[in-house]
Amino acid sequence: MRKLLVIAAAVALAGVAAGCGEKSSVTVYKQGQYQGKPDTRPWDNDQFKGDKAAWERAVKSRSLGQNEYVRVSGG
């Protein structure tokens, strides 16, 4: 009888203690890493031959060309 009581107490204790082992349910998202093929940079080609400054100049002149206030009236 005493043995049975000890077993029952052990099972009850295990059941009560299980509640204390609850893990945090807040998910922490991990930022994924790109899994695809690597891409080249826009200036790494036959046209610019790796000259980043030349590419930036080309793009900037095109960007500034969108400002018609400068194009038309010089101001």
């Binding site: 998202y29 930022q31 994924g32 890493q33 790109y34 899994q35 695809g36 093929k37 690597p38 891409d39 080249t40 940079r41 826009p42 200036w43 790494d44 080609n45 046209q47 610019f48 030349a54 590419w55 930036e56 080309a58 793009v59 900037k60 095109r62 960007s63 500034l64 969108q66 400002n67 018609e68 206030y69």
Partner: protein, 207 residues
Amino acid sequence: MARMKFLADAERCIECNGCVTACKQEHEIPWGVNRRRVVTLNDGVPGEKSISVACMHCSDAPCMAVCPVDCFYKTSEGVVLHDKDLCIGCGYCFYACPFGAPQFPQDGAFGLRGKMDKCTFCAGGPEADFSAAEFKKYGRNRLAEGKLPACAEMCSTKALLGGDADVIADIYRNRVLKRGKGAEVWGWGTAYGKPEKQPPVQPGAKS
């Protein structure tokens, strides 16, 4: 070089859809896929406003965050691109995107949803620059040619600006100062405001 961005000026857009046509023509986009669209608010009502919408190449892109196969990447110029060889066409990016930018070709049998297609800022994709594979999957790589996106360069009223964020923000700020209108738009102060250059807000002016 900072980040590449688009900027749509609702005061100038005349809903000509020239940007949409330029994009379709430049990249030979199939029927049913619209990398760029013109959205009109209060259509038919005097004072209606239109803006051209495509992938905005977000600084913290939600499509990149939700992609289960991690096929998105951001270039050093801030352009959000993806690898079509990896894409499984699940559509999560479409649900995550606040602009409806991801497009899915549906020309196959049984309502097949193909691999995602979206605006590349005319920067191609992860294939060799100017290769046939790059053109077939992602369209023309104008950025590697030292050019800006076709939609922005084609825009007749220059309502759609594209390029380095700092440069186009300066163009837009200058434009607003010249016309004395537009600074009342929500977010102006955060995005483009320079306190010493703020134009006076005219009472009763519409945005």
